[in-house]
Structures are given as structure tokens and as C-alpha cells.
């Protein structure tokens, strides 16, 4: 049995405390009135800001009609939008613009909280999918890692509940992350009004609870059968696990897709991409596999998991490499079609990101594609823990940036910054994740010894 080392427990708690303080600082310093927001902006940006901001298509709030025109202007001619348009509208725009910035600044700590909460939840959901695939495929190489995967999916329920609570708080208008939740906005917006059959609060929350219940039920029963198999004399539990895993995967790919529209894409309710479900899936899958590799290497370095050899690490490295490339394929497919067709209501999504988020947007491609591609390409490097850890940390941070890029542009526009609140949010959920996952690891032996494929897995070598 594994015991949660005190050092790691203290580290996790320290992360949570520091992260909590960071988030609290973010919430306290967020402006509570339009005047405060104005002051903050004046002190940090100086003048000239209004000009650069007027043409920015940050999809938010009630000035949607004016916003739509500024977008098409911009698509036609950027020069025109910034000089002519901004100069003409500066006077009457000022009031609504100030309120716009106020909403963005008050969204900032919420968005920092939501990005981190969703990111760590996404890791455990990705691991659950990976685990389900191993079970359904009756994989021979991976049973030695089952307990690590089950430990990580232990975060699914608490993490998911936190995300749903944040969504419910948005629904109570404590923040403006989801503008379609505001009836005032919907009343003036034909496009969102047309989507209310799907995007309405009761149905939205009911879906969220339904999804989380489904995933948690699979996780609960799969873990139960896995533990029961340890002591069993026949393989009936293994077969049950195989069956529910196959069923779960069907349920998962549908619900994960709808979840990504709901929880991420609907932050920008005017924009849509049919590839989005797959894109979020690739992101969670690769971060999940990376988390498995990092935790496995950590446990092995502490003298546990002596039955895991470097061929298992090699296989995880192959998955990290392959799914990183898969993620890039989807990222680029989504980008290229929208870039090529250049339809204003679609291309605004990438214009915001390239103009206001240039560094995080392209930096993320370097972290999630170019770095792992070059580091993990060599077969021998995939067997060296040092390389896997290095690539893994970059991949995890890169996919945090990915979620950041998915959520922030619509939530805070060009007011983004990776500051105290954002780092605090990341550290808080990292601490919580470590705490919950390692607590779960102590609850069962680290070797699922009853698994019928265990022998094959222990002898596995490439």
C-alpha cells in the first residue's frame, strides 16, 4: 500500500493556500464599479487605449450590433476600422466602452478560476477516456498503470462539481463569463435568441449534471470491479469492466463533445466550429496521458511501481508524441478552414487571438507541437525519464495555455494578463489535484494484481 508522503501533502496544501490567496487577491482587486475600472485602465494603459480598443472584436455585452459592423469593417480593412471608425465613434462609444472594460476586468478573476478549474478537471476526464480505451481494447501493456489512472480519475467528481458550481454561479449572474445567460443581452441579440432552445440555463445545468453523473458512475463501477478483481478467483469482474468500458466510450464521445460546446464554446455564443469537440478531446487526452506519465515517473522515483519498466514509459512517451501531433492536426484544421474562407463571423475568433493574444496563441503551438515533436521524436529519448518529464511539464503548461486561449479572449478581451490571479488559480487547482489524486492512490495497492493481463503487462518489453 502506498502512503501519502507528508512532504508532498504539505506541498499540495501550500499550493492550495498560495493559490487561494492569489485568487482572493484577484477578486479583491477586481473593480466593483465602472469608475474604478476606468481609473485602473488610465493608470495602467495611459491614453491611446481607446483607439486601439474600439475595433477589437471581443464578443461581449450589449453593443452587439455596433460590434458586428466594426467586425466587418475590420475584415475589409483594418486601417479603416482603427482610424476612421474609432475616431468617428469615440465620443458616443466612451460610455459603453467603459462599461465593456468594467465587465472584462470584473470577469478576470472568474475567468482565471474557471480556466484552472476546467483544465485540471479536463486532465482527469482525459485519463478516464484513456483508461476506458485500455479496458475496452483489453490492452496487454498497460494494466500495471491501471491504479495510477484510477488515482487520477479520483479527481473527476470533485473537479467536476467545482466546475459545475462555477457554471451555476455564472447562471446566478455573479459574473459575465457566459453572456447568453444574461436575458438583457439575449433580448437584443437575434443570433443568441435563436439558440435559446439549447442555450438556456436550466437545460444547460441539467446537461452538465447528467454528463458528470454518467462519467462518475462509470468511474465508480469500473473502480469497484477493478478492486474486486484483485481478490477474485475468476475473471467475471474483468469481463464486466470490459463491457461497461465499451459502453462508456460511446457515451463519452457524445457527451464530451456536447460538454465542450457547453462549457467552452458557448463562452463565445456567436461563433461555432464543428471540430470543437474533437479539439478539446485531443487537448484533454494528451494532458491526461502526460499526467499519467509524470505521476508514474514520480512514484517510480520514490521506489514504488517497481513492476513498471522503461518500455511502459516508452509507450506513454509514444502516446504523448502522437497525440501532440494529433492535437496540432485538429488545431490547424480548425484554423486553416476558417482562415481560408474568411467569413467575418467565423474569422473574428482567430482575429482576436492573433491580434490580442499573439504570444499565448502561437507560444502554445510551440509548447504543444514543436517542442514535443523535436524532443520526443527520438526513440531512445522516450525511455529517459528526464526527457519525458521535461516534455511533460511543457505539454501540461502548453495545454493550460490552450484552455486559456479558448476562454480568455471572450471573457476578458484584450485585458488579459498572466498575473497573480491566473497563477493563483493554476496553483490552487494543482494543489487540489495532487491532494485528491495521491489520497486516492493510498486507498488501494498500486498493483492491480488480479487483472488477467497483468503477467503480460509485467513482462512487457519493446
Amino acid at each position: 500500500m502506498y502512503t501519502f508522503p507528508n512532504k508532498l501533502r504539505n506541498l499540495a496544501i501550500a499550493f492550495m493556500v498560495i493559490g487561494f490567496l492569489g485568487l482572493a487577491y484577484g477578486f479583491i482587486t477586481a473593480p466593483s464599479t465602472v469608475e474604478e475600472a476606468k481609473e485602473m485602465l488610465a493608470s495602467s494603459h495611459g491614453d491611446g487605449h481607446g483607439e486601439s480598443h474600439a475595433g477589437v472584436p471581443a464578443a461581449n455585452h450589449a453593443d452587439e450590433s455596433a460590434h458586428a459592423t466594426s467586425e466587418s469593417h475590420e475584415a475589409a480593412s483594418e486601417e479603416h476600422a482603427t482610424s476612421d471608425h474609432a475616431a468617428g465613434h469615440n465620443e458616443e462609444h466612451d460610455a459603453s466602452h467603459d462599461e465593456h472594460v468594467f465587465h472584462q476586468l470584473s470577469n478576470k478573476p472568474w475567468a482565471a478560476l474557471y480556466v484552472a478549474a476546467f483544465f485540471f478537471f479536463m486532465i482527469s476526464l482525459g485519463v478516464l477516456a484513456f483508461y476506458g480505451i485500455q479496458r475496452a481494447a483489453q490492452a496487454g501493456w498497460s494494466p500495471v498503470l491501471y491504479r495510477v489512472m484510477e488515482g487520477i480519475t479520483g479527481y473527476l467528481l470533485p473537479g467536476g462539481i467545482i466546475v459545475i458550481v462555477i457554471l451555476a454561479l455564472s447562471g446566478m449572474h455573479l459574473n459575465h463569463l457566459f453572456i447568453w445567460m444574461d436575458p438583457e443581452v439575449v433580448a437584443h441579440d437575434k443570433l443568441i435568441a435563436g439558440k435559446t432552445g439549447f442555450l438556456n440555463l436550466p437545460f444547460f445545468l441539467a446537461r452538465a449534471i447528467f454528463f458528470l453523473t454518467g462519467w462518475s458512475l462509470y468511474r465508480y463501477f469500473s473502480r469497484k470491479f477493478s478492486l474486486a478483481q484483485d481478490e477474485a478467483s475468476d475473471i467475471s469482474n474483468h469481463i464486466k469492466n470490459f463491457r461497461i468500458s465499451a459502453g462508456f466510450l460511446v457515451f463519452y464521445i457524445v457527451t464530451e463533445s456536447i460538454m465542450s460546446w457547453d462549457w467552452v464554446m458557448s463562452i463565445d455564443p456567436h461563433w461555432f466550429s464543428t471540430l470543437f469537440g474533437w479539439y478539446v478531446f485531443a487537448s484533454m487526452f494528451v494532458s491526461g496521458i502526460t499526467a499519467i506519465a509524470l505521476i508514474t515517473i514520480y512514484l517510480k522515483s520514490k521506489g514504488y511501481l517497481e513492476f513498471v519498466n522503461d518500455s511502459h514509459i516508452h509507450d506513454l512517451g509514444k502516446f504523448m508524441f502522437g497525440i501532440s501531433v494529433f492535437w496540432t492536426y485538429l488545431w490547424f484544421s480548425q484554423f486553416m478552414l476558417i482562415w481560408y474562407s474568411n467569413i467575418p463571423e467565423e474569422v473574428t475568433y482567430f482575429m482576436t487571438r492573433i491580434e490580442d493574444y499573439n504570444l499565448p496563441f502561437f507560444g502554445m503551438v510551440v509548447m504543444n507541437f514543436i517542442f514535443p515533436l523535436l524532443i520526443l521524436m527520438n526513440s531512445d529519448y522516450k525511455r529517459i525519464n528526464y526527457f519525458i518529464v521535461m516534455a511533460g511539464i511543457v505539454i501540461i503548461l502548453g495545454h493550460y495555455m490552450d484552455v486559456f486561449n479558448m476562454i480568455m479572449p471572450s471573457a476578458v478581451g484584450d485585458q488579459w494578463f498572466i498575473g497573480v490571479a491566473e497563477i493563483g488559480g493554476f496553483l490552487f487547482f494543482l494543489g487540489l489535484f495532487i491532494f485528491v489524486v495521491f489520497k486516492e492512490l493510498t486507498k488501494a495497492p498500486l498493483l492491480a494484481k488480479g487483472d488477467p493481463y497483468m503477467g503480460e503487462s509485467e513482462r512487457f518489453h519493446y
Binding site: 490547424f332 484554423f335 486553416m336 482562415w339 481560408y340 474562407s341 474568411n342 521524436m377 527520438n378 526513440s379
Partner: protein, 175 residues
């Protein structure tokens, strides 16, 4: 020097693997192993050097990428400038997303084809080449190990028979 060799025939890949290990541990020199399909782990058991084709694949891929970039730049930008996706910028970089599929495909094309050609050259294979295979059974379901003979006929034959060979024969190799 004699050019006599021993041909030992096996009918199972697991037996072959353990036989190869025991032959090598007795310090006999294995010339070649003929198998009807690639046997997993045989390269390690034979102590062969790691293949360097992966390095060549990377280089070939880089060549393919460069050829693609040069080719598209000439075709789409220089020779006959094209208005791509309604964005007549006539710059390679600004139109780069449209070229990525071609860059990718050419990378794969060059890497794959040149790797196959390299493999044929390194294996000394070319069209109409006469097969070197000493026993047609190895194209069906048997495995053949060819070992150099140095006046140790008896010991070697005994070892091979012990290791599970179904047939051991001594062949005079034509020069």
C-alpha cells in the same frame, strides 16, 4: 579457409529465438537468419547494430519540406502570383496556412519513398535480382540459421540439434 556452412532449420519463431541466443552464447558466428516474416526481438538476439534509417528518415523529411517550400513559392508566388482565399498578398508567409497540407504531404512523400529506396540499396535488392534465399521453405513457414563452420562440426551439430532444429545440414558454399 573453408567455405562450409551449417544450415539449421527451425519450425517455430520462439524456438528460433532461444536457439539463436544459445548459439551466440557458445561463440559461434551466425552468418544470416532467413525467416518468412519479421521475428520480434531477433535483431537484439543477433546483436545487430541499431538501424540508422530513422536518422535518414528525418533528413529525407527535411529535404521534402524544403522542396515543397521552394516549389510552392515558385508556382504560387513567383511564376504566376495567385490570389489565395481572397487575400491577394502575394507573400509566401502570409499565405503559409494554405500551403501547410502540401508541405506536410511532400515531407511524408520524400521520407517514405527515399526510405524504401535506401532500404533496398542497403539490402542490395533490385529488380530481377536472383534470390539469395538458400531454402524455399523459409518463404513459407520455416526458419533457417546459417552458421560458419571452422572444424567444429560435431559440437555445433549437437548444439543445434539440442536447441530444437528440425534439420541440420552442412553445405559447401559456391564461391
Amino acid at each position: 579457409m573453408s567455405n562450409k556452412v551449417v544450415h539449421a532449420l527451425y519450425d517455430d519463431d520462439d524456438v528460433l529465438l532461444s536457439a539463436v541466443k544459445s548459439i551466440r552464447s557458445e561463440k559461434h558466428h551466425i552468418e544470416e537468419v532467413y525467416t518468412p516474416f519479421p521475428v520480434h526481438g531477433l535483431d537484439k538476439a543477433l546483436g545487430l547494430e541499431d538501424t540508422r534509417i530513422a536518422i535518414m528518415a528525418f533528413i529525407y523529411g527535411c529535404i521534402g519540406l524544403s522542396v515543397a517550400v521552394a516549389m510552392i513559392n515558385f508556382i504560387m508566388i513567383e511564376d504566376w502570383p495567385q490570389n489565395i482565399g481572397g487575400k491577394p498578398s502575394f507573400s509566401y508567409l502570409e499565405n503559409m496556412p494554405a500551403f501547410v497540407p502540401i508541405m506536410f504531404e511532400m515531407t511524408v512523400f520524400f521520407a517514405a519513398h527515399l526510405m524504401v529506396i535506401t532500404f533496398y540499396m542497403r539490402s542490395k535488392l533490385w529488380p530481377f535480382k536472383k534470390a539469395e534465399n538458400p531454402n524455399p521453405l523459409t518463404t513459407d513457414d520455416k526458419f533457417l540459421v546459417e552458421i560458419e563452420l571452422h572444424d567444429n562440426e560435431k559440437a555445433l551439430t549437437a548444439l543445434l540439434e539440442k536447441s530444437g532444429a528440425i534439420d541440420v545440414s552442412i553445405i559447401e558454399k559456391p564461391e
